[in-house]
């Protein structure tokens, strides 16, 4: 009874305040974020937008049938995403395990491992272009000093994509290490003690305790790596400009240059929607896969 009266008294100012907060925010979202990308199905007329003609799926047909670069960029992006998942996941899981189990100095290690995350990608790209210079770069000097063959790094048609993957792994691993370490520290220590008493090996407790209880964080990390890597743009652009040739041209770069260099908004929009679809499908697939495996 009492609560109902309180509720009645407070309803009015809350209602007004709620409107005051939500209406401008929703207006902002409607104006800027909820805009559907209709460019993909119209022939956008730059000078007279109202005269743009509806063209149906013509843009999609053009990029799929007539555009070799779209396929090249798409394949590069998928390769990049697969590679970075394959390197980033085990690496950050191993480092997170060390970070969660280290007895002293966790803060200092965390500081160092997270440092590349906070600096600007543009600066990181310039830095690694310097280090990876095939003629005077320090990486090749290090390789030759231990007797290994030199690499063309970012300028080699084969090594360029891997080099971009290495730079991005170096730059972003800190995020996933911190996320996974938090997940590991969240697992109650008693479980491991109990397993030890029961005579479980280190591998058994990893497979039977750590992995299942880390599932939530692992899923998050895999999905974040995948979504991020399929949208890769700045690193590849500043490291290689998409080259040599088209060796590191990614879908996002294709979209941006189609739209803002070649002024083909329709084609670019169609390509970006294809990317969106691929991201949705892969993410759904991953979520399904991670859910059905070890359920307790």
């Amino acid at each position: 009874m009492d609560m109902a009266r309180v509720g009645k008294v407070v309803r009015k100012p809350q209602f007004r305040f709620g409107l005051l907060v939500l209406v401008p925010i929703l207006a902002w979202y409607v104006m800027l974020s909820f805009r559907t990308n209709v460019m993909a199905v119209i022939d956008y007329n730059l000078l007279h937008p109202e005269q743009s003609a509806y063209v149906g799926l013509a843009h999609f047909r053009t990029i799929f049938e007539g555009y070799k670069l779209f396929w090249v960029a798409g394949l590069n992006t998928l390769k990049y995403s697969a590679l970075i998942n394959a390197i980033m996941l085990p690496l950050s899981l191993a480092l997170a395990y060390c970070l969660a189990n280290v007895a002293r100095g966790r803060g200092a290690y965390q500081w160092a491992l997270f440092l590349p995350v906070v600096v600007s990608m543009a600066a990181v790209a310039l830095l690694f272009r310097s280090l990876m210079d095939p003629d005077v770069g320090i990486f090749n000097r290090l390789l030759t000093s231990v007797g290994l063959p030199r690499s063309r790094w970012l300028t080699g048609p084969k090594s360029a994509l891997v080099s971009v993957v290495l730079v991005d792994t170096w730059k972003a691993a800190g995020v996933y290490i911190v996320l996974l370490a938090a997940g590991l520290l969240n697992i109650p220590a008693q479980l491991y003690d109990a397993a030890k008493v029961d005579g479980a090996s280190a591998f058994q407790s990893f497979a039977r305790i750590t992995l299942p209880l880390l599932r939530h964080t692992l899923t998050l990390v895999v999905v974040l790596i995948t979504i991020g890597s399929l949208q890769v743009y700045v690193s590849a652009l500043i490291l290689t400009e998409g080259g040599p040739g088209t060796a590191t041209t990614m879908i996002s770069q294709f979209v941006v240059s189609e739209a803002f260099t070649n002024m083909r908004f329709g084609l670019a929009s169609a390509a970006s929607l294809v990317l969106f679809g691929v991201i949705l499908i892969i993410t759904m697939f991953q979520l399904r896969l991670m859910r059905t495996s070890w359920e307790y």
Binding site: V6, V10, Q14, F17, V21, L22, I25, L26, Y29, M31, L32, S33, R35, N37, V38, M39, P49, L95, L99, A103, Y109, W111, A112, L113, F114, L115, P116, V118, V119, S120, M121, A122, A123, A125, L126, L127, R129, S130, L131, D133, V136, I138, V178, A182, G183, L220, Q231, Y233, V234, L237, I238, S252, V255, V256, A259, F260, F265, S272, L275, L280
Partner: protein, 276 residues
Amino acid sequence: MRDKRGETAGQVVIHAVLLTFALVAILPFVWMFCASFKTYVEVINSRALLPEMWSLDNYVEITGRIGFVRAFQNSGSIAIPATIAIIVTSTAAGYVFAKYQFPGKELIFRLILSTMMVPFTVAIIPLFIAMSDIGLVNTLRGIILTSLCSTFGIFLMRQAIETIPNDYIDAARIDGAGEAWILRQVIVPLAGSAIATLAVFTFLGQWDSYLWPSIMLKSSKNHTIPIVLAGMRSLYSARYNVWAAGSMLTVIPVMLMFSVAQKQFIGGLSMAGLKG
């Protein structure tokens, strides 16, 4: 109970692994720091890490020739207002979504969250056309306008404010406090650490942002730091000592901020990860 010797051996391995990768993370920055004081000839020839002579020439060159000072001002006059705006909108919206009950609340919240799924390249073309319709292409105001709200921020603040007990809010209401007063005097202090996390991440995101500003800001007087840095590739082709100086100026403020606010970065990220 536990095998003491095995424990110590394990710790040694763990320290060795962490130390190796910590060095991998830090050494490129050390190289960059040293290279920024070297001459070009020294950078490409010398095997020594430390410069023979600590010279400020590279810094003088970039601050003098390519509006680096201007770029700092531009980046700051985007990042600071955007961060303030996002803190205000995220905290207010987070409060409403966490503590108010009204029909359609979850639907609206989910609609807002769904924008996180959309790749930026899908949004960028209609966004650019919207900016050009209202004449804000090539203005810093245009960038700020598109950075007034943050979906991640609204999500984070709702999570944080939901943990605040309703009793505090009800007590203030019974004492006759207005909603804006409650937000300022009750919610903001209690959600302080989440707000700090949001502030550092937002500021950094804006400071480092490249894609959208590079499309919006065409004239060089509006260029932000990442755009100026990227431009150095052609302006100072392969002059790694000058690149290093430009990069140093960019990363130093950020590294200082991170060192001071490490708890906010790591703690906020861990919290978002465990709850997300």
